[in-house]
Symmetry: C2
Subunit: 253 residues, 2 copies
């Protein structure tokens, strides 16, 4: 391989929540590329570096920019919020990379909002769960509906990314209504806004109450499974250790 | 609150893959508690600290140990591999914590195997996905089957944790057979053994081939969705950017 591009998951935003290898990849980079909001979240010491961004809607152009910079021989890092592989740029980079076979892509994983939001709420995804984005720019709404129904049918805890935007104010309401046709309205839920950033705020509520919430686009929503309950004000999905404490063999935790 | 316990997700194992706040919590701890295998993965500089472990099957005792150490006034950290909230100890700690209302639990999220395994394989969970554990010590097998069927019905990419153990050698085979009744045998899949540790090994195969694989308990398995393909030897789930590149407004990546 002629050169490498590091696709870096920066976690929720604060540098303390980045992995050491993510920080190192940025420190060693000649150029850091990303959506401008995420470049702004990077610490002061990265501001001295060459930084390039493209706005929303220009993800493909952002990818090409990475490959072109790498071609010049510059050590190139692309930053994504959360984990680069979960609704991040890793997928599109591999796709665009078809045209640049001489460039190796190294994905550096990060803490995704399912994990960082869960940590604040308690332990809502301590057992099997689904992750669903409500953005219908990349997935037809009918498919999102079908996935919500399937997730409820499987009694998964559900994590919802991109629950809202300027253009999609009622999407969380629509998703909750689909879930209400499948599960009881008292089901415990929660959401966290601005995880790991200024103005971080978490709230626990029922599914019925969640329907009426207005959340912003920097919010991650959690719908409990049938095993989720509120313990000391925290949202916790039990794995049934109590039931099995005398089982013959227990596995990794 | 009288005292705090830090429940620390250490990521796959290598310290470079821990977040800075996770490393700091361990550095500041007076006592580090965990499953002995995970204590062993910690760097040399943590060996000088008081370390306590309980074997498998004694997760509840491990939790009580944390609360008892914290009660003595010791700064206590509990380590889990991956993310503490995803099949980790966060859920059980909150449950056991009912008996210790004076102790605050702080969960420090980490990089879970879904993210770290995906980074090695390419970008298999770039779109909606489910996470399912095949361990039936804590969940009845019938429920696991139901979730596999629901995940296939929703056309999710699927991440399988705990695919195998000494006692459950044929569980991945059983799971694949359930999936084969729902989706085509050519569906692209992959798995990664020993992520972020010595002997890390990744492989891509079809669902039919996956049926015949013998994997160890330190393996994470990925089943593609209908949108997953192999690009330059990597497993990539597309989000449909190509289709939508002229959409009116694109959202965060």
């Amino acid at each position: 391989m002629e050169n490498k591009i590091y696709i870096v998951g920066m976690g929720p935003g604060r540098e303390e929540m980045m992995t050491k290898e993510a920080v190192q990849a940025l420190e060693q980079a000649d150029v850091i590329i990303g959506y401008p909001l995420y470049l702004n979240l990077l610490g002061e010491r990265f501001k001295a570096k060459k930084q390039l961004g493209t706005p929303m809607r220009q993800e493909r152009e952002r990818c090409r920019l990475c490959f072109e910079e790498a071609k010049k021989g510059l050590r190139t890092a692309l930053v994504c919020s959360g984990d680069a592989g979960i609704y991040g740029m890793a997928s599109l980079m591999h796709e665009v990379g078809k045209d640049y076979p001489q460039t190796e892509l190294v994905v550096i994983p990060g803490v995704t909002a399912a994990s960082s939001g869960a940590a604040i709420l308690g332990a809502p995804i301590g057992d099997d769960f689904c992750v669903i984005s409500l953005s219908d720019l990349l997935t037809p709404w009918e498919k999102i509906e079908k996935r919500l129904v399937a997730a409820a049918a499987g009694d998964f805890a559900i994590v919802i990314y991109n629950p809202s935007s300027r253009r999609r104010k009622d999407y969380l309401f629509r998703a909750c209504n689909i879930l209400l046709s499948q599960i009881e309205k008292e089901r415990v839920c929660g959401f966290v806004e601005n995880i790991g950033r200024d103005g971080c705020h978490a709230q626990i509520c029922t599914l019925e109450e969640l329907c009426e919430k207005e959340v912003n686009m920097f919010t991650t929503v959690f719908i409990g499974s049938s095993q989720t309950e509120i313990i000391n004000g925290k949202l916790v999905t039990k794995r049934g250790y109590a039931m099995d404490r005398n089982a013959e063999q227990k596995e990794g935790a």
